[in-house]
């Protein structure tokens, strides 16, 4: 090599001749599913659905559920609740009377009434379901 010569990287940009790609100046960062699906990472947990009690809500056995604990459950939310110490995923429904029920989305199963004496806790609100096709 001559004195003062420098090695030139060969494939810095895949341009052999002609003009550089016109898109080069317009590149943005790639789309990130986390950004779309998770607003509160510290309060977000993943769980897997089991069984068929929520199939009419589009939640199937083995689906991945995104649970956000920071959201306060409201009428109509799909919630992960603990009833008498057992986890259950159901629709949270508040009747006109103010009575609360956890409703499965499959006629095979019965709603779970939540009375004042029921040992019950809402663990989090399901915000998304990831289903493999």
């Amino acid at each position: 090599m001559d004195k003062g010569s420098r090695p030139i990287p060969l494939f810095l940009s895949p341009v052999s001749c002609g003009f550089p790609s016109p898109a080069q100046d317009y590149i943005e960062s790639t789309l990130d599913l986390n950004e779309l699906l998770i607003s509160k990472p510290a309060a977000t947990f993943f769980v897997r659905a089991r069984g068929d009690s929520m199939i009419e809500a589009g939640i199937f056995d083995g689906d991945l559920l995104i649970i956000d604990r920071s959201i306060t459950a409201r009428h109509g939310h799909v919630v992960l609740a603990a009833v008498y110490g057992e986890f259950t995923l159901k629709r949270y429904v508040v009747q006109r009377s103010g009575a609360v029920e956890l409703i499965p989305e499959n006629p095979k199963y019965k709603p779970i009434p939540i009375g004042p004496a029921t040992e019950f806790q809402i663990w989090g609100v399901a915000t998304h379901c990831v289903h493999r096709l």
Partner: protein
Amino acid sequence: MIALIDCNSFYCSCERVFRPDLATKPVIVLSNNDGCAVSRSDEAKAVGVKMGAPYFKIKDFCEQNAVHVFSSNYTLYGDMSRRVMETLAEEVARLEIYSIDEAFAEIPDMSEAELRDFALRLRDKIFRHTGIPVSIGIAPTKVLAKVANHIAKANKEFTECVYSLVNEREITAELERFPVREVWGIGRKLAKKLGAHRIDTAKELRESNDKMIQQLLSITGLYIAKELRGESCITLEILREARKQVVSTRSFGKPVYEIEELRESVATHVTSAALKLRQQGLLTRYLRVMIQTSRFDENYHYDSLPMSIPAATASTNKLIATTMPLVDRLYRRGVRYKKAGVVLSDLVPHSRVQMDLFNGSDSARDEHLMRTLDEVNRRFGRGSLAFAACGIDKFWEMASNMKSPAHTTRWSELLRVG
């Protein structure tokens, strides 16, 4: 004002987040290799499980009293800790994370009623977002915040896990009945020293003469006394300085008789201690290898050997090479070894050593090797890449068979809910 936020029975609480059936049951978590109880729920304390009780001694007791026992799941606790701290950081301006389950926060001055309100809301938010219950103590200094937290925890029904200690009269009254041994940073040993000088309560320490305190307890002790007087002077730096050693030690799953197994276990301890060093940006200049039988063995035997390291290092391979001859010298045929460990001390920050030409430390090559090693293990899981000296089968290691799944960090171990 300073708030100390401390998670209640942290490891037990982490387990309970994923086990709502245990919400009101006695629960304990054992140390590595199921050695002894390191975290107890209030219910477990109530039935009489003592902190640090060896598991083999309380196993039957736990069965009889329906105490739920977990092996430790540090992956889970680490992830839950991160969630708690992140949630906390949203609410306070300055957060200093002190340990896996404790953090100090600086909060603006407000009235006592407002402080209480703020703390209750903070406590509720952390619980709602993460499922972890916390206690909050608020006071003008860190040491006093620790006292306030202590009070909050000791009288939960009354305090609802939140207590502020702000006016002078109340501070004096509380310190008067607060044993000096319970003061943060004092401990049993120093309390004994103080007791000899008739200093038994926090108030007595606060009112002692500076010169005497410093003679008795060194400069850190003086800082503690000043903080008790309401003068803020302890930074996390000071606390870290005081904690200048890295220890890795663990009981074996079964007694070990062979030197090969002993060597492997020590190499494994060196591996984890050296990783801790690198994570904190430190190098060591002094190490000690310890081996012992069970404390309950009739032929109890403990032995250890030190070695100073001329060129400060954080390189796993160098440290393994240094410790192996020590193990060979310590080993005695026929002894039922139950535990081994290493202590790395005389620690210096990596940055300070780099500038020191003559003390020359790890070469660029060593450092590169360690960075690669850590990166591989970070990406593919702890222990994916290790030195052969650590052994492959590790049958001296105990299977932690009461360990909960990695609910939050492994796709294959997610909670299943129907």
